[in-house]
């Protein structure tokens, strides 16, 4: 397995198990490689749009659909609580894990809570829509805003 694939796979496994993306040091121990090599791998994975990093160039802000920071989109799967980057990713977490989930979010206009039960075949019907404010060609220009 190529090193970047090894790192990517290990990042996702770590995130699934701990609910937070790993630091460079943590990943360095997992893959048995120097931190410098992991840091460079993170940057290549950012360039190929697999990971999104903080401005420090090494902290994982997003391993889509998982968020490295708390957001308004909380996804409970079993006894674990993950944060998602957006409405799409909130459903992306149960899709990736192929597990049932409860999504807790909010209506951005009224701030009232929104709760969505997601089964293996998809979400139960509730009065909720998603608004995509940014066109597809611009998503990675400002991914946090998107």
């Amino acid at each position: 397995m190529q090193f970047d694939t090894q790192v990517k796979t290990a990042v996702y496994r770590w995130t699934v198990e701990t609910t937070k993306p790993p630091t460079v040091v943590e990943m360095s121990e997992v893959v048995g490689a120097p931190a410098r090599d992991v840091r460079e791998s993170y940057r290549r994975l950012r360039a190929s749009r697999v990971l999104f990093l903080e401005p420090d160039g090494e902290t994982i802000r997003m391993a889509p659909p998982f968020s490295g920071v708390p957001t308004q989109h909380c996804v409970r799967v079993g006894g674990r609580e993950y944060y998602a980057n957006c409405s799409w990713d909130a459903l992306g977490i149960p899709a990736a894990l192929q597990e049932k989930a409860q999504v807790s979010s909010r209506c951005e206009q009224t701030l009232e809570p929104i709760r969505i039960e997601v089964g293996r075949e998809g979400p139960e019907p509730v009065p909720v829509v998603a608004h995509f404010a940014v066109p597809a060609a611009k998503w990675w220009a400002d991914l946090v805003y998107t």
């Binding site: 990517k8 409405s87 951005e108 009224t110 998603a130 066109p135 597809a136 060609a137």
Partner: protein
């Protein structure tokens, strides 16, 4: 990519911020997007869809036009 209770709430939110109203996606469409994008994301050979795949995924659930074209320059 935010949740709202209804199309009316989206319209209010856009008006209050002076933002253009852009596409509204139903929950079942959002689930189809989530599955298409992330179903295999945890596998070692997973990769992000390329532009042609993205167009096919979007078109498959009725999302077509420049807004959904990952290579469109229509929006500046």
């Amino acid at each position: 990519m935010l949740f709202f209770r209804s199309e009316e709430r989206v319209n209010e939110w856009c008006r209050s911020r002076g933002l253009p109203r852009r596409p509204i996606i139903r929950l079942d469409q959002l689930w189809q997007l989530a599955v298409a994008w992330y179903e295999n994301r945890l596998r070692p050979d997973a990769r992000r869809p390329g532009p042609d795949e993205m167009r096919r995924i979007f078109a498959g659930i009725g999302l077509e036009g420049p807004f959904w074209d990952p290579e469109s320059d229509e929006f500046g």
